[in-house]
């Protein structure tokens, strides 16, 4: 799994595709594979009762489970639904790009994603960083920010900072608003400054949490870096190969 890439990748697509995409569905698509399921992967405890998946990695990425949400066909299905309901090509395409980006990015870990579901339940994986969602949220965060996962997220941050003009008010007015009627509708109800902030919010969230997790894991705590392929190896990674 990835921690900040899903917040940041949409801005890179925005930079390259300009008015051909809409940022809101792009972000929704980027978040959609984990939507409403991540809490069950880590589990929660309420009134002394533990609720969570018996096999978190299989629930998250496999079948039976919600692993189909990380497949390319799931992106096509939700894009078609949006096209049929809202009659908006730009929303459908943006949603599709966001969901595909998430599914392909998560194929970077040791579990991988069922990209070609329902044709096969094989999980495509690059094994670049450890999948440790079965541990707990904090250990998973520490592991991710100790291996190549945080490097991957860091690349998107660097790219975003290089392409900083995408985050300016001028770009928002010239490209973002004309591309998507949502912003004109929202602009009649909310001041422009708030809309610009909303537009930038995921970039802010992805960048700051990346930095905070790094400091938390390596300054406040003492988790060792391990940038070897498939690392960090100090965490019991799930590898379905």
């Amino acid at each position: 799994m990835s921690w900040s890439a899903h917040d940041l990748e949409p801005y890179a697509f925005q930079r390259h595709l300009g008015g051909k995409v809409a940022i809101v569905p792009l972000l929704i698509g980027s978040y959609s594979p984990d939507f409403a399921t991540k809490w069950f992967v880590y589990g929660i405890s309420t009134f002394g009762v533990d609720v969570g998946a018996e096999d978190p990695a299989e629930f998250h990425r496999g079948w039976p489970g919600v692993g189909f949400m990380h497949s390319l066909s799931f992106g096509i299905v939700i894009a078609l639904v949006v096209l049929l309901v809202f009659r908006s090509r730009i929303w459908a395409i943006s949603l599709l790009i966001g969901q595909w980006a998430h599914s392909l990015t998560d194929a970077g870990d040791t579990v991988g994603t069922m990209l070609l579901f329902p044709f096969t339940t094989h999980k495509f994986d690059l094994d670049a960083w450890a999948y440790a969602g079965q541990t707990n949220r904090l250990t998973d965060a520490a592991a991710y920010h100790s291996g190549l996962g945080f490097v991957w997220d860091g690349l998107w941050i660097v790219y975003g900072l290089i392409a900083w003009r995408v985050l300016t008010r001028g770009y928002f007015r010239a490209v973002i608003v004309p591309a998507d009627p949502f912003w004109r509708w929202a602009g009649r109800r909310v001041p422009e400054g708030v809309l610009v902030a909303l537009y930038r919010a995921s970039f802010f969230y992805g960048t700051t949490r990346w930095l905070a997790w790094l400091i938390w894991a390596h300054v406040l705590h003492d988790y060792p870096f391990d940038l070897s392929w498939g690392g960090p190896h100090w965490v019991p990674a799930v590898d379905r190969d």
């Binding site: 965060a141 708030v194 909303l198 995921s202 802010f204 700051t208 930095l211 905070a212 400091i215 406040l220």
Partner: protein, 50 residues
Amino acid sequence: MRTLALHIGVAAAYVTLGVFVPEVLISWPVGTAFYLLGVCALPALVRRLR
């Protein structure tokens, strides 16, 4: 320049809070609310009080 300084300040505050209370780093709504408060609500309040 003023906008950039404001963003850096809000980012520094969020990172500091997140390091000591990592639960705030987990939720997108919490992160976004913090950001909106820092770059929109707080400056608007300061302007009104002046």
